[in-house]
Symmetry: D2
Subunit: 348 residues, 4 copies
């Protein structure tokens, strides 16, 4: 950490800054330049990051040098992590193909969609039972009944399942059904929820918030990791921007940026990132080409009847065509799509 002093900082102020640094057990290193005086801090700066040094009179700017996350950092863990979801590998060369409807709407529809995406090559089934909706008047999900349907459908088709948990009070309930928790974008900084799923040992799919920087995302992963759960998969799903051509802005560079900072796998979700079915295939391929460890795509067999987010779903035959293209691209890049183990998955 580097502390830059204001042009007119007094000797007393400088001495006070050095005192504060040393009182935290660190060494301070004074350097008087022609135009500015700076204090370099030697030692573990983590504790300093919490101290309000900018509030000290005479301080102009505090420049952190080390990243604020540790367990998520690839300095601590240089090899890419491989996260396993009921036998399906994600990361380190393995590609997740997550597909399914936005919301679980009933057993029959779920069965039809699961059969179609399995056939097309998906290796994980998604579906929401609890839905975060902007409007209190919109469809809020089937609740536990939806979890049951999702579990049974996944088992029938040999697909591990992933589903969203929104409320710390429901982590236990969702835990009983799912193979992987999803933390949605709106809850990326719901710290109590992160702590709860961090205390389980189920994998977590952590979606990037709509205005979260990459560092914010990795700090949220750190909440889960620091509770002892090391199975975290990140997900880029679009951020806010000024152009309303698309629902969000798909930040494909987030994939290599994350890989430069962290060992955690990162997948892309072009359905939420763009909100437009015509943009899902090109953005899915872009994500894989940029190095993503998987793609998360919404598929529905009758989008105009979908109870949530119909307009951004692919039809099953569109998904099958895209999955073919992803497989070709994966082969070119030397990536493997992990096949779910051939057994009943329910024994957890």
């Amino acid at each position: 950490m580097i502390i830059v002093l204001k042009p007119g900082a007094t000797d007393d102020q400088i001495a006070h800054v050095i005192d504060r640094v040393e009182s935290l057990g660190l060494r301070a290193h004074l350097s008087r330049g022609t135009y500015r005086t700076i204090v370099g801090v030697i030692g573990d700066e983590a504790q300093l990051q919490a101290a309000p040094l900018e509030a000290i009179p005479g301080v102009a700017q505090v420049v952190p040098i080390l990243p604020p996350f540790k367990l998520a950092s690839n300095e601590a863990h240089p090899e890419p992590s491989v996260v396993e979801v009921a036998g399906v590998k994600i990361g380190g060369g393995y590609l997740a193909m997550i597909a399914g409807p936005c919301a679980v709407e009933g057993a029959e529809r779920m069965d039809a969609i699961a059969g179609a995406v399995k056939k097309a090559g998906a290796n994980l089934l998604r579906g929401g039972a609890f839905k975060p909706r902007t409007s209190p008047y919109a469809y809020q999900g089937m609740g536990e009944e939806g979890l049951k349907i999702l579990r049974e459908t996944g088992d029938k088709h040999g697909l591990p399942i992933v589903t969203e948990v929104m409320d710390p009070r429901r982590v236990e309930l969702v835990y009983r059904y799912t193979d992987m928790f999803q933390i949605g974008a709106r809850n990326m900084q719901n710290f109590n929820l992160l702590t709860e799923v961090g205390q389980t040992r189920k994998p977590v799919l952590l979606k990037r918030g709509m205005s979260a920087t990459i560092k914010d995302l990795l700090m949220s992963a750190e909440y889960i990791l620091s509770e002892g759960n090391s199975s975290v998969v990140l997900c880029e799903r679009g951020i806010k921007s000024f152009d309303n051509s698309t629902r969000n802005l798909f930040d494909v560079a987030a994939v290599p940026v994350c890989k430069g900072l962290s060992h955690l796998p990162i997948i892309v979700d072009p359905s939420h990132a763009t909100g437009r079915p015509d943009l899902i295939p090109p953005c899915a391929l872009a994500g894989v080409a940029a190095g993503a460890d998987g793609v998360h795509i919404e598929v529905h067999n009758c989008p105009e009847e979908a109870l949530s987010d119909g307009p951004q779903a692919l039809l099953p035959h569109q998904y099958a065509a895209l999955a073919d293209q992803i497989q070709s691209l994966a082969a070119l890049l030397g990536k493997t799509i992990s096949v779910p183990p051939e057994r009943k998955l329910a024994a957890r």
Copy 2:
């Protein structure tokens, strides 16, 4: 609602769109232009807003005409609402002066700060007992002990209190101590939490999320209102932007934009909006000049020792100087600063 069809939409597709509209009990009104065909929808469009009309083949664009919120709208409630917090009025010409430290750090410090802000003219006391922190390694708040201190300090100085609740499991606990709930920016779309505070009858200070549009903010207010709690005060506290000169971007126009759409009071929080003490006074005055119903300011008597957000707090004498300026401006604008009633406030 207006449904715009694609250039080559077929007659069958158009008929199907009309069927869908009519099946929802609404009237459809076809209009064939030279370049485009449009379908106007007559009736209550609320139910249509949830239907995925954009997913119907042949549909190019769906343009909503009515706002998606109702109870928050000033069409339903043309007069500005006045929210009362233990006798202190906010809105409709009454200005809230909310001040206090970011976090409750101990009884002595709280007492000193409360005494100072009360003397300067504050009419509500703030302090966090549960802190949402980006890092799992940062100070997380005193918990219930902090609530007790805040309650006792408020009572001693005759100031109603406001404090953040982050977790639906703690709404009941916080309810027992506070006069007003605060929902923080990161929880603006924590819908289960909104529902919980909506089921109480305590006023709620709802902060705008960092990437929330004004409509998103009003939809979140709608969650609270639709549960029967009509005492909601909005708060503009800065949004994300590309310029890192300031911590967030203070969107002062949010004040008149909200007032054009909603009857709910709206205050400004220049502390979080800017993150820099030198910018708090000009931005606080800007907010009041733009019509805000109050200002929310962090005050600390030793920012460099603050356990949270020290660098953005004013010192007590800086707050006093600013409060003077706000009072002059309020007088010019014909606004009143409600004085807390002279009685022990604890009897709730």
Copy 3:
């Protein structure tokens, strides 16, 4: 175009709106809904887009239905355009491989870089003679001397050249040397400059402004097209965002969004979009996978000595490795990389 009236609009106001529409030679179509009255406009709405209808009392909102650009639109020109730059094709299945240093810095360096990128598979050579620099104290380019060097180097290596023009007064000068004009991001809305290059018949590489929507970009292309120059290639090069992990935010979805609206080719520039050499290869591949008609990459043989933007350049061997990957991906996607014709290119 649809004109939505305010809830309390009077009959006089409605009649006035209809008058205005009809006075412009269009037909108005009144529709009174339960909650709102709307006026649909039938006919060519282009002239209406310029009329300030929102300023008419009683009008709440004006919703355009048709895109504001015509010549750039794929409604007018459904087939993708192929732009030819001195024999090198871009668009319609042909991929541009534009490479070279940010600035022309001297004949020897230019020669070395051009030789390397030609060998790696580039088919167009770039280099700036006039540099738009944020600081007046930064290197501003070699001027005409730089143009001469670029021309000679391109001819020697059989590579057509592209170079930026910043000033309408220099369009004639740059015209004499270059095969393709580049309009930089900062000049995307320098309308006089667009008009000048529109009056030539040389191809134009039009870069998206840092805060331009896709519609803004297409409107700027329309300026060039409407002067009679139909050879426009668009370029996504990163937009402003709140995350400073990267210099700009690479909007890869801009590629399919543009293709959904326009027949013009669009390429990507991951050098400027990210500002980090480690991110250039993944983002270049992402762009091609998303359907881009080419990639524009800065290459320098000694980045630390570069007079402009050194930190974002690839070394020649890094470019060669990336070009190999792009060629494999292009083959998978069925794209062709046009080879410059084997002749002296100077005869223009």
Copy 4:
């Protein structure tokens, strides 16, 4: 400037960094921390800011400590500058009241508007003769004829004038008519244009670009100042944001942020910042309360007939009401509104 090295930087790499710094005539100061090695640079870092140090192998990050602008900085010039426009003072306690139509549309209309705004208290008259329009099909301005009308109208009403120049080829022409140049937001980084107006000795109103940081704005001012023209007034006019409730996002904090960095006056333009007449008065007052040195407001006597930007203009009586409020606020803040000298202004 501080150069942070990568974790595994070799001794050779470190030595090379130090060599580079010393070869530029500066002193390097090595500091080996527990986790990172840093090199502090002592001396004038301006030349280093242009050197691509980040491109040197082993370098992780380069952190500038000094601002990149000098003449615009308040370190060089601690007192606020007062800019005089034909006798009207701006800055240092003097408030500019700039008003007039978006475009000059004819002598009669201009005369009516000028008379009204003069009466209301405006001290500078604006009007565009050359209009930067997003669409090539929109009204482009009256050209020289418009300049004449503006000049004559200003002289008749005793109001100095300000008008936009968009093209370096027209600086001479506009110079002959105007009292102050305006550089529009889209041309804030049209560096050749900045250089041209910098070479005159007429005051310049420099509008902030829609995606320009405050530092970018000050760097553009530096272009003008470094050519010898010290009469620059900055203008905040809204930046890009994700919320389309308003045309742009009015960044009122830009006013105190600029004042913390620079001695140049800064005014606000709520007309362009919001694009909505109902938001102009609250945002104008907010700007003045935040310390702005003036307000720039579009006024038109028949917005629905305006040839450009009608929907964002105030009517003359609305402007008069707002001007009254601004005057009261200015009196409260101790600001003066400079009165144009009582003489024919044409003698320049």
